[in-house]
């Protein structure tokens, strides 16, 4: 016999009626009232805890729902792949100064703000001086990324390696166990691939980025206008120089002609050996006049030469200065082009704790979900307890 059979047999044998079975039965039946009204079930105690938890969950859900959130700027969403273009900021904003002094105020470049722009909808500020007929684009890109990680120091090394790997340059960096910061520049033509690599260093939920772009066309136009002005000045100066030289030559030629005439007349007079006293006197007076004229002409020639040299020197100096400004202008132009060809940016890293990791992956209303679960559990416990038969 198996134990189950043994126990079953034993159980059956245990079942028995009491000795005074009939008496007890009759006694019990006499106790039964004629009709036992089925009372309404004693009202179940309200599951107050469940209701309270549900209420709090609903309130929290409403409070965390997007329609009730105050308008606040958020970094790019967890896919981390959006960018915001700022269109044609005013050219007189200051740029960010980095450790290598990358401020480019002289080129008029507008750097990105040092904090994230709190306005989610920056409205464009078009430059009034740029005509629509000029559709050229000299796009300057600035990049800003934020990463959360549990290994700040390791990740910052990887970021720097990535920057250098793309032919970029690390301008400054700082790191500690909790925070890290890198400013860098990479070629614009490898920026997109670089950005993808950077994003792959951490999971999407830990990454946010912002991209600012600006068309440097106003600066380029300004430089080109300056260049045109300079070239105009140079050509004017060259023209003035030519005119000066021509005038001088003509003056000198005139003087020389006069000098020659005077000299010739002097020679003729001196050669005249007249014995006529009147003529002799006249010759003598004429000779005096001619000598005066000759001296005068010499003086004037000297003055003319001096003036000419002085003016020429002045014009040459101005031309030289214009040449210098032209070179500067070309350098400015090149700087603008180099600026466009470079993407500058910052990457900041912050350490993330496990609760923060959980909250990143959970939806905003996870407290409400937890409270609802708690409410359900409380209700189940309440229901089970209410199953205990009240006697």
């Amino acid at each position: 016999m198996t134990i189950h059979q043994l126990l079953t047999s034993w159980g059956q044998k245990q079942r028995q009626l009491p000795l005074q079975h009939d008496q007890l039965k009759n006694n019990l039946m006499s106790q039964l009232p004629p009709a036992t009204p089925h009372l309404a079930t004693a009202s179940q105690p309200m599951p107050w805890l469940s209701l309270a938890l549900t209420g709090v969950a609903v309130i929290l859900f409403i409070a965390t729902s997007p329609t009730f959130k105050t308008s606040r700027y958020k970094d790019t969403p967890t896919n981390g792949n959006t960018s915001r273009d700022s269109v044609l900021r005013p050219a007189d904003e200051k740029s960010i100064s980095t450790d290598l002094g990358l401020a480019t105020g002289s080129s008029g470049f507008v750097g990105m703000p040092s904090i994230i722009d709190p306005s989610p909808y920056p409205f464009p500020i078009p430059s009034p001086d740029v005509p629509i007929t000029d559709t050229r684009e000299f796009i300057k890109t600035n990049y800003n990324a934020t990463m959360r990680t549990r290994e700040v120091e390791t990740l910052i090394q990887r970021v720097q390696t990535t920057i250098r790997g793309f032919g970029g340059r690390v301008d400054s960096s700082s790191s500690s166990k909790e925070r890290g910061y890198v400013t860098f520049a990479v070629p614009a033509n490898s920026f997109e691939v670089f950005r993808t690599q950077i994003k792959d260093l951490v999971p999407n939920a830990f990454f946010s980025e912002q991209t600012y772009t600006q068309n440097l066309l106003p600066q380029k136009q300004s430089i080109e206008q300056q260049l045109a002005q300079i070239e105009k000045i140079i050509s004017q100066l060259n023209l003035d120089k030519e005119r000066l030289t021509a005038a001088h030559n003509q003056t000198v030629a005139t003087f020389r002609a006069k000098q020659t005439a005077v000299a010739k007349e002097l020679t003729a007079i001196r050669a005249d050996q007249t014995t006529d006293p009147i003529k002799k006197e006249a010759n003598r007076q004429r000779e005096q006049e001619l000598i005066k004229q000759q001296n005068n002409l010499n003086t004037r020639m000297v003055n003319e030469n001096a003036n000419y040299n002085s003016n020429l020197k002045s014009l040459d100096y101005q031309l030289q200065q214009a040449g210098v400004r032209k070179d500067d202008n070309k350098k400015q132009d090149q700087r603008v082009l180099d600026n466009v060809a470079t993407v500058q940016g910052t990457i900041s890293l912050t350490w993330i704790s496990y609760p923060e990791i959980i909250s990143l992956y959970l939806p905003d209303y996870w407290p409400s979900i937890l409270l609802i679960i708690a409410a359900v559990v409380a209700y189940v416990v309440h229901y089970r307890r209410s199953q205990v038969i009240a006697i």
Binding site: P18, L24, M29, Q31
Partner: protein
């Protein structure tokens, strides 16, 4: 008897049908009394508690709600409560002596079986004994046992299985 038949009986009893009450008594009293005797180890006490169990059941009839538990489970819940209250008042257990507490109704070989099983049960824990009583004397379904003991269904099944295993081991040990 099916669950719906039990509920029909209850409904009739609520309407004052004494025959229905008598029928219910006939069905459940042997199990109740057997359970009480085995639990309390005192027939006289078991009779008292049996009576108070039924009286309390009648009083609770207006509030009876079929909350997924059978009528038998409901009655045994009342009986367990009576036992608990008794032990609270009088914390004295009567030692087992089947020759005193058992009746001459049992034949000698049945008595031998009973003694053997009681010996086996004595080696088990109180919880195991209770669960085997509810399973084999009260003949309650596992769901009702779970509700009575405030455990979940799977736990009760496991405990029954373990209690039987321990009983088997005890039986083997005793036979050796």
């Amino acid at each position: 008897m099916s669950y719906s038949d039990e509920l029909a009986l209850i409904t009739k009893i609520q309407q004052g049908d004494k025959q229905a009450l008598g029928k219910l008594w006939d069905i459940f009293t042997p199990k109740l009394f057997g359970y009480l005797v085995n639990t309390l180890k005192d027939r006289a006490l078991a009779e008292d508690l049996l009576q108070s169990t039924w009286l309390n059941a009648i009083k609770a009839l207006p509030r009876f709600e079929p909350r997924g538990m059978s009528v038998g489970g409901w009655l045994f819940a009342i009986a367990k409560n009576e036992c608990r209250q008794h032990w609270r008042k009088d914390n004295r257990e009567v030692p087992l002596d089947l020759t005193v507490h058992d009746t001459a109704q049992n034949k000698s070989n049945e008595l031998v079986t009973k003694l053997a099983v009681e010996k086996i049960l004595a080696t088990l824990s109180t919880d195991d004994q209770e669960i085997l009583r509810l399973r084999y004397i009260a003949d309650l379904p596992t769901t009702d046992i779970a509700k009575l003991l405030n455990l979940n269904f799977a736990t009760v099944r496991v405990r029954i299985h373990r209690a039987i295993s321990r009983a088997r081991k005890s039986l083997i040990t005793q036979n050796l």
